[in-house]
Symmetry: C2
Subunit: 444 residues, 2 copies
């Protein structure tokens, strides 16, 4: 790495704000190009933290994300070896019957990876570049799109300032960098919270082994409720229960938890354990899910947003992290194309990437359909139609493959899928969600 | 007013943030109920200002707005007498031919009113209540949804604090009150800038008389461009030119202005005057237009958003001010219903009003259609179909009447109009925007 680090005489400074997944990966991309990289993170170093707070425990890594990791030489060794392949979804019916629906073509799979471990590996990888410095406990307070000057709050009330040639906002769905964008004219922005919340529950190993078949993404589709479970290396499963906040709030005692699971997820009770369920359901309140879209992603030649800061998506397509990682590749490709000239790279990045990120945000939301005929309830329609279509045509369709197993641009994948027609179908079919004869063909 | 002012022993304090149209009207509504009303405005008192900066010069006042003014006893005397009735649109073809299309039923009209005059009248009306105090040069910096404590910046760097039982955010499309909402979980928000900008030009009287027929809203529909003109009491017309920012930017010399008008609005050149056009086009840059939607409108029992702060709309339906004024009536009705108990009134206000404000925001935008077949240009489709349909059926339709001449809830008007069908039509017809055979039937 010495060579690339010394490529320039007057090294430009790139400040990456946020040391989460996309921030840490981006630091590697910029360091590899020889920039002076400074990463700023509000929280402490998660590699030293006793408790890692926050987001979901595991994630589905698929083709786009793996391709980005490969770009910085760390796909296989640290990541893939620690992920668990999921070759298919495993659908749990109310009666307890389990039916697999494979992903893509034979041999294709997605990987269940541990978020915290992936983040730690990425931070360590970034730190191996001598031209990268990680700064934790730095909370961005203010920055200038004109000068690149940033002000950070430090613990115990002190402040510090740094100037950069480029500020890369990778600070997540509630981005502090993005606040400055919101103050400017002609910046389009939306944040949409869905009426569902989510809650994570752990399913421990039984007799030292996985409590269910490990190489599957387990799904309990129940129309307005849904539970999924992803396998972890320690032979636990992380179960995620999705349901409307008002339903979460109806349950206030251990008995009510068991009653609820008896009704909707009876086969999961012995697997998770009734005592665990009674206790863990009340450990943390249900968490909100937000979809964020904005445009453009840049201001002048000084600042660009990437990852969740630019496009937080709901988790129903398993593409959030993959889209964020792909952002890094797309930016990198445009850097080559425009010879690292930020004044040309940044507008081109917005032009190229906005339609794709908007497409994946819409796709992720598209699985989740409001039905005015059913008291405006939201349904997870995709899984029903997935089951129906798989039964009918015997295999997964091409569209799903494009999104999950290729780098076909998201908006092109959507166009090929005759999006327009489907939207119209969706309008026409809204009354028939339960039976969903339509063309939804999506996917966790 | 003494009587109502003294209705309570322990008067609650209502802080209205923003002394624009909706803020000033709202102050009257709250004062009439006997609250201690404090109005806070960033700018100086426009009644004393030498130059009134900012927004459009005149506005179309219709039924909803007039009803709200009537509630505080000031419809006719100060406002209607100073407005100019517009009984019809007057369509200017490229050849200079003028054809009227009436509003609503015979005798129905909308009023062209002067924004600054209306605002001044409303401020003076608010001040006649002894329980109302207007505070200018107060810029809201921070406030607490828990305590109702607000901090204002004053001129020359000083600060002041005030506490209120209810904070009413009427501070417009770029609301400072709303910023606090954005920091809270489960607040849905979108701001969408359209690719068109607008520019105002003045058409002076000719020989002491209006240069065109006064009792019309004059419209020059040109697909992706549009100009409108509203009459003023001083016998001028305010012309507003709508066009994509990139088109505005193409014109950089006086000759280019004239060339452009020759091509698209030839009959307007002698009316505005070539010399005036050459000069005034460059007076101010084209202004942006934003559509803002959010939900909910309240936090707890302490704060509520109304007017543009809650729902800025694009101007193509002439309902922005009318919707904001109607907010005041709806809130007032709910205050009666729940006996002024803010903890019940505020959630009910959000529940009732959000769908209507979202409906009018969508309607206003619906006139403005992107066509991917024409290089993603945006077209003003409504006016073409308005002309076609009027020619075909010989009269205006019922839907338009409901929106402009009744208080039918916006979302109900939309439902009656078989919105869903039209959306599907719109999808199908998008390729045929030029000919727009479809069901668009809207209106300035």
């Amino acid at each position: 790495m010495e060579e690339s680090a010394l490529r320039r005489e007057d090294k430009k400074v790139v400040a990456v704000v946020g040391a989460g997944l996309v921030g840490a990966l981006n630091a590697c991309f910029f360091a590899k190009r020889g920039f002076e990289v400074e990463v700023f993170e509000t929280r402490e170093d998660i590699r030293k933290a006793k408790v890692v707070k926050g987001r979901s425990i595991n994630l589905a890594l698929s083709h786009r994300g793996r391709t980005a990791l490969k770009h910085v030489g760390m796909e296989d060794k640290q990541i893939v070896s620690k992920g668990i392949p999921m070759n298919a979804r495993m659908i749990h019916s109310l009666s307890g019957k389990q039916s697999p629906i494979p992903y893509g073509k034979k041999g294709q799979y997605i990987l269940s990876v541990d978020r915290a471990n992936l983040n730690k590996e990425l931070l360590t990888a970034a730190e191996t570049y001598p031209n990268t410095k990680l700064n934790f406990d730095h909370k961005l307070q203010d920055w200038s799109a004109e000068t690149g000057l940033m002000t950070f709050a430090r613990p115990h009330g002190s402040k510090t300032q740094t100037q950069a040639d480029l500020i890369v906002g990778c600070d997540g769905a509630f981005s502090a960098v993005r606040k400055q964008f919101l103050r400017r004219s002609r910046f389009n922005y939306s944040q949409t919270y869905i009426p569902h919340g989510y809650m994570e529950l752990t399913m421990r190993p039984r007799n030292g082994e996985f409590a269910m078949k490990p190489n599957y993404l387990h799904i309990w589709p129940r129309n307005t409720f849904m539970m999924i479970a992803l396998p972890n290396l320690d032979k636990t499963f992380t179960c995620t229960l999705f349901m409307p906040f008002e339903e979460f709030e109806k349950i206030s005692t251990g008995d009510e938890v068991i009653e609820f699971f008896q009704k909707y997820f009876p086969d999961a009770i012995p697997l998770i354990g009734a005592a665990t369920l009674r206790r863990d359901y009340f450990r943390l309140p249900a968490q909100a899910m937000v979809s964020v879209k904005c445009s453009p992603y840049h201001i002048g030649d000084k600042c660009v947003l990437m990852g969740d800061a630019a496009h937080a998506v709901v988790p129903f397509y398993g593409q959030g992290m993959n889209a964020g990682f792909e952002d890094c590749i797309v930016f990198d490709e445009i850097m080559n194309q425009f010879n690292e000239d930020f004044s040309a790279v940044l507008p081109e990045y917005s032009r190229v990437r906005v339609p794709d990120d908007h497409a994946i945000a819409d796709l992720a939301m598209y699985n989740y359909v409001e039905d005015k005929n059913y008291n405006n309830s939201y349904f997870f329609v995709f899984i029903n139609t997935l089951i129906q279509q798989t039964e009918k045509i015997g295999k997964n369709n091409h569209f799903d493959n494009m999104v999950t197993f290729t780098r076909t641009r998201y908006h092109v994948a959507v166009e090929r899928w005759h999006w327009q027609d489907k939207v119209i179908n969706r309008g026409l079919l809204l009354g028939a969600v339960g039976a969903a004869a339509g063309g939804f063909y999506l996917l966790i």
